[in-house]
């Protein structure tokens, strides 16, 4: 029952010897809907890492609303890598506490975003209201389900998609604003997040259209049945999923090597194929070509191209009193 002195000693030696190996855990802090993807990806990467180095890695994952997750890392959650769906959530780590360098996004290819998705419009089967374009969402008498841009990345992307596509189509700033105003006047419910909006549209049967990520559409059909159609507007926004190692954490824990390998693996053909399995658009042109049917070619623009940067878009559009607040106040029903 009681530990003998020798076993205690053995335990102590073990404990002292452990640090060399004990650090082989990585924590990936990520956004909400990436849970299933990273579950698969972690298994694949752990096997690959074991094969290459002989070390076994324990990979932990934490998911939640993206800006809440970013705040947790700033407040001390020991993330080795952070994988988000908006650049400004990682910028925060640079601005507060210098957890990553300011130019973190330049360290990996494609703006440090190994995968992307695009904002699409989901309509009822047969497209009874004949919705083809962002401008259609602003038609009088339509109801559009969009999650709250104040609390949801999905909602922010939707807003920027409609605005950006208008600008890209050569429309003036004021006309773009007018369009987005008309669209949000058609929103009967502002759900807190993307999945809540999906429930409202698919289960509650509210609204003629739902705007969401392409990666969510197959899940909706799987969950709620084949009652929907995906509409690709001619131009839409490219939602990049940026990743970074958290420098301060990996340097203290000595996990930089596996953490960097983890992110590199996202760009590998195996990692890209896994992303496809979870409906994310791969960056690798060869992988993309193989699945061209699932990812119709559509003209896309990243946030930076139209709005400067995510931080700028946040400041000009979504902060308190900024354009979104003005729009929603003027479209008060």
């Amino acid at each position: 029952m009681f530990p003998t002195r020798r076993s205690l000693l053995a335990a102590l030696t073990l404990a002292l010897a452990l640090p060399a190996h004990a650090q082989s855990t990585l924590l990936n802090v990520s956004y909400d809907v990436s849970r299933e993807f990273y579950k698969d990806f972690n298994t694949a990467f752990a096997a690959d890492w074991k094969q290459r180095t002989g070390q076994s890695l324990t990979l932990n994952q934490s998911h939640g609303g993206s800006s809440k997750q970013a705040r947790s890392v700033v407040d001390g959650l020991e993330a080795d890598v952070i994988t988000m769906n908006q650049h400004n959530d990682i910028d925060l780590l640079a601005q507060r506490g210098g957890l990553v360098p300011a130019d973190w996004a330049k360290r990996l290819p494609h703006n440090s975003s190994p995968t992307t998705s695009v904002s699409v419009i989901l309509v009822r089967k047969g497209n009874p209201k004949n919705i083809r374009e962002w401008t259609d969402l602003g038609r009088a008498g339509l109801q559009v389900i969009i999650p709250n841009p104040k609390t949801s990345g999905n909602g922010r992307y939707t807003y920027l998609a409609a605005w950006g596509a208008a600008v890209k189509n050569g429309v003036s700033h004021d006309a773009a604003k007018a369009l987005v105003t008309r669209i949000f006047a058609n929103v009967p419910v502002l759900d807190g997040g993307g999945r809540g909006a999906t429930t409202t549209f698919a289960q509650r049967n509210l609204g003629d259209a739902l705007v969401t990520f392409e990666s969510e559409a197959p899940l909706i059909v799987k969950e709620f049945g084949d009652h929907f159609e995906v509409v690709y507007p001619r131009r839409t926004i490219l939602a990049e999923n940026p990743v970074s190692v958290v420098d301060k954490v990996v340097d203290r824990k000595g996990t930089r090597k596996p953490a960097e390998a983890y992110l590199q693996y996202l760009y590998s053909p195996a990692g890209q194929e896994l992303a496809v399995k979870h409906n994310l658009r791969p960056r690798d042109p060869k992988v993309l070509a193989r699945h061209a049917k699932r990812f119709p070619a559509v003209e896309t623009f990243p946030v930076d191209e139209v709005f400067g940067s995510w931080s700028q878009a946040q400041k000009e559009h979504f902060n308190d009193g900024a354009l979104y607040d003005q729009i929603i106040a003027s479209s008060k029903r």
Binding site: N148, D320, I328
Partner: protein, 279 residues
């Protein structure tokens, strides 16, 4: 109130006073005071005009109206029906009584998000109850109120129940023999005794409703100026990484709720004094 009264009493006959009081204060400080003072400290990073600006925009003011108004009305309804439920549970015997008793606690145990989604589904215009109504419940302030009624019910029932159990039937019988009508008995004998418990239940249900986020967020619809609750605005501030702005609104809510709870406590003490310490 209670604390100051006990503190004034220098010597107590019961042993362990110093230790117990010390532990209580330590515990309360760690669990309640330290986190709350952190919220206050964070707001001090704002200047006074910034603070006023953050807590008094029309949108925030509209959310106070909704949050405090709906919470108050929800607690009020729960006082009425919670009393009836408690009365039925204490005074009558009927098959399935244990089951009903357990049902009362369900709003405590259910994850609030589940409650919110279920209530939204039921009261939506294509929902099992919502379809029979000529007006909308889900996605309106009325929906907010429905959710707050749901989460507040157990508080009133569970505070009134034990007092009712202690209330001896002889009191009512005595009132009857003295010629009181049933209504007079309830009004002049039963209700005054229950008053402190009812007030406690009301205060608990009200306080709980003020801070409720999880269930309300699904049913509210969250339209600015109409159905945004104050906790949602706190969350949107955090989404912008505006910690100070978020805590500023939180502080206003805290101070307002504290003032109201204190008022209710005073009312309670007054009610207890008036009935001459029966309970």
């Amino acid at each position: 109130m209670l604390l100051s009264r006990t503190l004034l009493k220098r010597h107590t006959v019961l042993p362990g006073f110093d230790l117990a009081l010390g532990l209580s204060i330590l515990y309360l400080s760690l669990i309640v005071l330290v986190p709350l003072s952190a919220a206050f400290l964070k707001t001090f990073t704002l200047t006074w005009p910034q603070f006023v600006e953050a807590v008094s925009t029309p949108r925030v003011l509209a959310s106070y109206r909704l949050t405090f108004g709906a919470s108050f009305l929800a607690a009020l309804l729960n006082v009425v029906f919670g009393l009836i439920v408690a009365w039925v549970l204490v005074r009558y015997r009927f098959p399935g009584k244990r089951l009903v008793d357990a049902l009362v606690d369900l709003p405590f145990a259910l994850p609030t998000a589940v409650a919110g989604i279920a209530l939204t589904a039921i009261w939506a215009q294509n929902g099992s109850l919502g379809q029979y109504l000529p007006f909308k419940v889900s996605y309106t302030p009325l929906g907010v109120w429905v959710a707050l009624v749901f989460i507040g019910l157990p508080f009133v029932v569970r505070t009134v129940q034990p007092v009712l159990e202690d209330l001896s039937r002889e009191l009512e019988e005595a009132a009857a023999t003295l010629g009181a009508s049933r209504w007079q008995t309830v009004r002049l004998v039963v209700l005054p005794i229950l008053m402190p418990a009812l007030l406690t239940g009301f205060a608990l249900a009200f306080a709980r409703a003020l801070g409720e986020y999880g269930s309300v967020i699904f049913i509210a619809g969250n339209m600015p100026m109409i159905s945004e609750i104050t906790p949602l605005l706190i969350i949107t501030k955090l989404e912008q990484y505006d910690y100070a702005g978020a805590t500023a609104i939180a502080v206003v809510m805290l101070v307002a709720s504290f003032a109201m709870l204190l008022t209710i406590n005073l009312l309670q003490a007054w009610a207890r004094r008036r009935q001459g310490g029966v309970a």
